[in-house]
């Protein structure tokens, strides 16, 4: 009897602490989202929480502000191109990474994730010099290149992980049945890494949508991404329009995750 009691009295505090920790963690993660989404529906002229009343006026205001809408469109376009280009390059890089063996393989992995390890500001400054050298300084193409560089590791990690799950014998089986390398890729490998690929593309998109420092340094004259436009906006006005913009961004991210879930299932993506 006393044994059983001691077992339970040992386990319960651990379970409880763990539970409390989880709750605290979630509150910590969710609180800013709840605040900002709540504040976007306020009737008052200031960003405040809890919101006063309920209104959609700040969303209307957001879509009436040409600078913010331009920023949103720019961010969407750059994000989409970033997602497509990084995914295509990351698939090739991940496949090359599989062929490389031994000590070189570790260095290759490290190289592919380098943009994550170097401070964004340093990359941005270096890239700015480089882009001016090749006469792409402060152009949309230069900005696009910066976004691709910064988002590449996310796509790479996700796709390389998916590729590692595909046993080599499948490629051999496909070859023995008469498939060329390209046919094997299209009919066997691509369908199998699709979840990781979709996840990588969405990560790359969300990351690009979120980039600030590198955009600030590389942005073309007269062109702003949404984060830059919002920051400019907040410098002069502290209106809930910003909260509405943030809420739209959150919806976009949730939409992306929902899309993955719908396409391939989150279980398979991780």
């Amino acid at each position: 009897m006393s044994d059983a009691t001691s077992t339970f009295s040992y386990q319960r505090p651990v379970g409880l602490t763990f539970g409390v920790l989880i709750v605290v963690l979630y509150v910590f993660l969710m609180a800013p989202l709840v605040m900002i989404i709540g504040a976007s529906f306020t009737e008052s002229l200031m960003i405040e929480f809890p919101p006063k009343g309920l209104s959609m006026q700040w969303y209307v205001e957001f879509f009436n502000r040409q600078d913010l809408v331009d920023g949103l469109l720019m961010s969407l376009r750059i994000g989409a191109i970033t997602a497509i280009v990084t995914t295509a390059v990351a698939v090739m890089a991940a496949m090359a990474g599989q062929v490389i063996s031994g000590r070189l393989s570790g260095w290759f992995q490290l190289g592919m994730t380098l943009p994550l390890l170097v401070p964004e500001l340093l990359t941005a400054v270096g890239l700015l010099f480089f882009l001016y050298k090749i006469e792409l300084g402060r152009t949309v193409i230069g900005l696009q290149m910066g976004h691709i560089l910064m988002s590449f590791p996310y796509a790479y990690v996700s796709i390389a992980a998916a590729l590692r799950q595909v046993p080599g014998s499948l490629e051999e089986a496909s070859a023995s049945l008469g498939a060329t390398g390209w046919q094997t890729f299209r009919l066997v490998i691509l369908p199998l890494i699709m979840p990781g690929l979709a996840m990588g593309a969405i990560f790359a998109f969300i990351n690009s949508f979120d980039l600030y420092t590198i955009s600030l340094l590389l942005k073309p004259l007269g062109g702003n991404t949404l984060p830059l436009a919002l920051f400019d906006f907040l410098t002069y006005e502290f209106k809930p329009t910003a909260a509405a913009a943030a809420t739209l961004s959150i919806l976009l991210s949730i939409g992306g995750v929902a899309l993955v879930q719908k396409l391939v299932g989150l279980q398979r993506a991780f």
């Binding site: 046993p167 014998s169 499948l170 051999e172 089986a173 496909s174 070859a175 023995s176 049945l177 008469g178 498939a179 060329t180 046919q183 009919l187 066997v188 369908p191 199998l192």
Partner: protein, 354 residues
Amino acid sequence: MATVEVRDLRKRYQDFLALDGVSLRAETGQLVTLLGPSGCGKSTTLRCLAGFLEPNGGDILVEGESILSTPANRRGFGVVFQNYALFPHMTVAENIGYGLKLQKLPKGEIETRVYDVMKLVRLDGLGDRLPREISGGQQQRVALARALVLKPRLLLLDEPLANLDARLRDEVRWLIRDLQQQSGITAFYVTHDQSEAMAMSDMVAVMKAGRVAQFATPREIYQKPVERYVADFTGEANFLSCDEVAVTGEGRYSIAVAGTTLDLGGVAGITSDTPVELLLRPEALRLTSVDEATFRGTVTKSAFLGAALHCEITLPGGGVLKLSAEPNANVRTGDEVGIAIDHSHAWLMPEVAP
């Protein structure tokens, strides 16, 4: 349908010699088994045949023509893998029809051929299932069907039964052998299981450290091994060291062993100074009364196995003989018994082939 000749095949990894001059030959319609422990080079040989590995030396000839410069996808060989290697995102029917689809055959023909081969391997009605929804035995039959539906010139099987449980293993083994014989396809079969090798093969190559230790029929491998390694790997075996060897004819010897003299056959070329061993398979030995016996010894172990009584008998010289006695034989540990040997099943061989 093809004769296949492997000539002096060599494969080296950085500091490891995987194949050190492997030579084999398969006649049309034969099933040749590569038998050996892991790391002996049997899978490497198969992978060179399939075109997944490029050998460093030697040649592979099919119908007299070298295929080394032909890539795997144009060799027209069927390969069956140990882990089945089915495409997990395709149904059973799609897996089997994969190769036909690549050949751009009309849809109707693909369907008919897939249907026919599924019937052949008894997979009827499972066409719409995914690989993960069927059993291991069924998965391996899908893999077999996927290879056979293309009517390959050569079938390569890499331990196809290793992941199956004992009951399924038997079933799939006979299926493979039946299909191979019906279709007359030349086949190479890799395994580490000697009973599989014995039961299925026309020829067996016992491999040892990147070389072929012996290439012969299952009967010859079992009854007339060229060295102890081969005898050991192909079934239960008793070995006795011999005191004196005299050559009495071509492959005939007279030996002194455990206090008696025997006349028997052996590997040709043994001389009186070759280190030799006497091979006695358990079925060559019979318990008998002490006065009729070739050997006398003491029972040191006896275990009732149902169909037989397993005995271990220690000879005065220290050698131990294992044999299967009749289940109701009255043998107990410590008994003094006699053992008669069947001379036609005794075999003299060198410890290590020259």
